[in-house]
């Protein structure tokens, strides 16, 4: 039975480690690309060796211990003395730390209680347990003092503010080192680069498809492949809807979840769906949208809004 148990636990270990790997693989492109890989391998190997050496050493100690015991036993037999085993180092520590009263002396601490045959002993409280209890009370008092009297440790609002400040600082640094053109309704433009459109498609499938269907044919949200739009069909209109959502509908604001360039990509991708005629599309909603003459001059587009 125990062998089956061990087998199952090993299987469990294998499967669980594969899930762990799956996560690391998604976050790092490949473990083998890591420049530190040889270091990890050496350290891991050393670790295994150290553990093996320790195991062998422990086993040898046990054998030695057993041989010494055998020898003393034989000697006491030769001398005709009754052999009494010395308590082991661990059992001495164990008995001391629990303040056990030896089982042979149990009668002395047996109380005169007898409940349906159940007797009660009056053993001491284990000293480490008492220490644990007192320790936890001291911890409790210090905890309350540090958080609520001396204000040494931050409460949740302070914690939040510190973290937001740190994030702001990081964002500022990121912007300074890697300036990205700010994209909003005033300068959003249709992108045609296939890489950007593919990125837009990924965003669409993971965020929009659950309401607008994978092919954009519409389900909870409107059909995105026809010429009818509830909030206008220009790139600016679509970008606005993606960014701010539409009040009173299920369309949420994606600002803060999707970066501006990705919003531009997904808006452009949506426009490529036009006329794709998917099966069973949702009925047209909104008004017929006739695109104005496409102009690269953003100020003119502004005027048309």
């Amino acid at each position: 039975m125990k062998r089956i148990l061990i087998f199952f636990i090993m299987v469990l270990g294998l499967v669980t480690s594969s899930v762990g790997q799956a996560t690391t693989e998604t976050s790092v492109t490949s473990i083998w690309d890591d420049p530190m890989i040889s270091f990890y391998v050496v350290v891991g190997f050393l670790f295994v060796v150290v553990i093996l050496v320790l195991m062998v050493a422990l086993y040898m100690l046990q054998v030695l211990n057993y041989m010494v015991k055998q020898a003393t036993k034989e000697r006491s037999e030769r001398l005709g003395i009754v052999y009494k085993e010395e308590p082991s180092f661990w059992s001495t520590i164990w008995n001391k730390s629990n303040d056990f009263i030896p089982i042979e002396k149990e009668k002395e601490i047996m109380l005169d209680h007898n409940y349906d045959g159940i007797r009660e002993l009056d053993n001491h409280l284990p000293p480490w347990w008492t220490g644990l209890f007192y320790g936890s009370i001291v911890f409790a008092i210090l905890y309350l003092i540090f958080y609520h009297v001396s204000d040494t440790l931050p409460l949740q609002l302070q914690e939040y503010e510190t973290q937001v400040a740190q994030a702001d600082e990081q964002a500022r640094k990121l912007k300074a080192s890697n300036p990205v053109a700010i994209i909003d309704e005033t300068n959003v433009a249709i992108v045609t680069d296939p890489v950007a459109l593919a990125d837009g498609k990924t965003t669409f499938l993971s965020n929009c498809a659950s309401c607008h269907r994978q092919d954009g044919g519409g389900d909870i949200g409107p059909n995105l492949t026809d010429d009818y739009w509830k909030n206008g069909g220009s790139i600016q209109n679509i970008f606005t809807v993606v960014r701010h959502g539409v009040q009173g509908t299920n369309m949420i604001a994606w600002e803060g979840f999707i970066s501006p360039d990705k919003m531009q990509n997904v808006s452009s991708y949506i426009l490529t769906l036009k006329g794709s005629n998917p099966e069973n599309p949702k009925k047209p909603e909104g008004e017929l949208y006739v695109p104005k003459e496409v102009s690269s001059d953003s100020t003119k587009v502004q005027a048309s809004l």
Binding site: V19, T23, I118, L144, L155, L174
Partner: protein, 546 residues
């Protein structure tokens, strides 16, 4: 001194045991179904009645109140009579208690799949059933206190202290948490709203674990473990200290379920520190159980009953160390809302409650049927398969919980969340969900093996409905003093009152200020909790509108 001939009522114990086993199998099967739905959603049969949202509360209610509840009553009815040398106070009350409790379970099994729920966790049942629970609980209380009063034993044994604490605290928890405004026969609105609702909910939820799943089973451990091991209880002193500290401290710990929320921070901190102070009292129970086995460990190797009890007590110790650690804010920030918590409660549920119940039943059935266990081999098989089930349940959920937590908090280089879709974390840990279901299947298989073994055992013996015993009447001698706690053990009403005071203090200090002092509740202008009447109106508006 003349010995009296009395008869212990075994029939009521038998009824509760049968109910335990039936509802154990039902509750665990429903749990397994819920576990399967998490990786194979089609297992909801495309029926509203069997969707996850409805069978999850069915599972929790079935295993807590039906499986563990019935086992608790079986253990109490068996041990109470023998510890006090008397039959139960009143047989009719015993049977009202039994059938009343089963009817409540039946009502739960019907209303929860129908979607009739108060939506308060572990208190989902609607108000008519709440009232029935209160009445049946009072019947149980009268029967128990009555039995204690007509006892032939001067002192109350430690198991009975725990039974008393269970009775008073569950009554208080249930009544306070269930204040609600009924609108129809199957619909009510809770009296509490906003952060008060959350506080009351977790004061209740946390202490339901404490006083429905823990204290009665500590009592059961104190009777059945020394009996099965045939050893004296390790330390009477430890019993006294850990009993009083446990019931006093436990009640404060509820707010650790509400860290990093709108709950006032002083209350959050109290929840944390009292959880930490709870480690030692909880471990007092574990130590008193394990050390009672000193000098009997050689028998643990062979006796399945003792094996079950050892693992149960150890699981109790592990879960009660893990719980306080989870309540520390920095640990909580990682584990809260993840599947780690699910693993944590199942170590307690499957390990502590489940295994202690199995050990108790394996010990009881041969005695009540005056025979020997049909197969100790099968009992050992059950033990190993059950242990394996717990391992397979808990480990994958621990790993899954950490993976989830790390994914939720991972940011991409551009400052946006790396995994924006919750689904991504779910699909990542699907293999863990599958392994968990394997664990559940193993555990349930063990229970089926036990059921077969016990039926065979009962068939080979003859049930003793009224067990005869010869007992001495209670001596009329007047006691003068003794140890102060010894005096207390002779005065059940005073004892009950003191236990009640001990469990009331924490709840009052934490809850009353948030009810009375306005500045205690952080408010935002745009968010105002609805009163029950406003909520009712809102529901009507939604129903009739658009």
């Amino acid at each position: 001194m003349e010995l009296e001939k009395i008869h212990y009522d075994n029939k009521i114990v038998k009824a509760f045991i049968i109910a335990t086993i039936i509802f154990g199998i039902v509750g665990m099967t429903v749990g397994l179904l819920a576990a399967i739905q998490l990786f194979y959603p089609l297992a909801n049969f495309d029926l509203q009645y069997t969707t996850f949202g409805r069978i999850r509360p069915l599972h929790t209610n079935a295993v807590i109140f039906a499986f563990v509840g019935n086992a608790m009553f079986a253990g109490i009815y068996y041990s109470l009579q023998r510890l006090l040398k008397t039959r139960m106070f009143n047989d009719s009350l015993s049977w009202i208690h039994f059938w009343g409790w089963q009817l409540i379970i039946l009502a739960a099994a019907i209303t929860l799949p129908l979607g009739l729920t108060t939506s308060k966790e572990y208190a989902e049942l609607e108000w008519p059933i709440d009232i029935a629970i209160a009445l049946i609980w009072v019947v149980f209380g009268i029967n128990m206190i009555g039995t204690i009063i007509k006892r032939r034993e001067q002192h109350m044994y430690v198991a009975i202290w725990f039974y008393i604490a269970t009775f008073v605290t569950v009554a208080v928890l249930h009544i306070v948490n269930s204040f609600e405004m009924p609108v129809t026969f199957f619909k009510s609105y809770s009296w509490y709203a906003g952060v008060q609702d959350a506080l009351v909910q977790w004061w209740y939820g946390h202490n339901a674990v404490a006083f429905f799943l823990t204290t009665p089973f500590l009592g059961i451990m104190y009777y059945f473990l020394p009996k099965a091991a045939n050893r004296p209880v390790y330390s009477y002193r430890l019993s006294i200290i850990h009993f009083w500290s446990l019931i006093f401290i436990y009640i404060w710990a509820g707010p650790h379920h509400l860290l990093y929320t709108a709950l006032p921070e002083w209350a959050q901190s109290l929840g944390v520190v009292f959880s930490i102070m709870l480690i030692a009292p909880s471990w007092g129970g574990m130590l008193n159980g394990l050390f009672t086995l000193r000098g009997a460990w050689d028998r643990v190797r062979e006796d399945a009953v003792l094996k079950f009890m050892v693992v149960a007590v150890t699981a109790y110790g592990m879960a009660t160390l893990e719980g306080p650690l989870l309540s520390l804010k920095n640990v909580n920030a990682i584990t809260h809302y993840t599947d780690w918590i699910v693993a944590h409660v199942h170590v307690g549920g499957l390990g502590w409650n489940g295994f202690l119940i199995f050990g108790m039943i394996y010990w009881l059935i041969p005695r009540m049927w005056n025979t020997k266990l049909y197969s100790s081999k099968l009992a050992n098989l059950h033990f190993w398969i059950g242990t394996l089930g717990i391992v397979f349940y808990a480990l994958p959920m621990y790993i899954g919980g950490v993976v989830q937590s790390l994914m939720w908090k991972e940011f991409a280089a551009d400052g946006f969340l790396k995994y924006q879709n919750f689904l991504e974390t779910t699909t990542q840990i699907l293999p863990m969900y599958m392994l968990r279901a394997v664990g559940g299947t193993l555990y349930l298989t063990g229970v089926l093996i036990m059921t077969y073994n016990l039926i065979k055992t009962a068939a080979s013996g003859k049930f003793v409905a009224n067990e005869e015993a010869e007992v001495a009447p209670l001596p009329k001698a007047i006691h003068d003093g003794g140890h102060w706690h010894s005096v207390l053990e002779r005065k059940p009403i005073l004892f009950t009152s003191l236990a009640l005071v001990a469990i009331l203090i924490g709840g009052i200090i934490e809850m009353v200020p948030t009810f009375l002092i306005k500045s205690n509740i952080p408010t935002i202008a745009s968010v105002k909790p609805y009163t029950p009447l406003e909520l009712h109106g809102r529901d009507i508006y939604i129903r009739e509108g658009v």
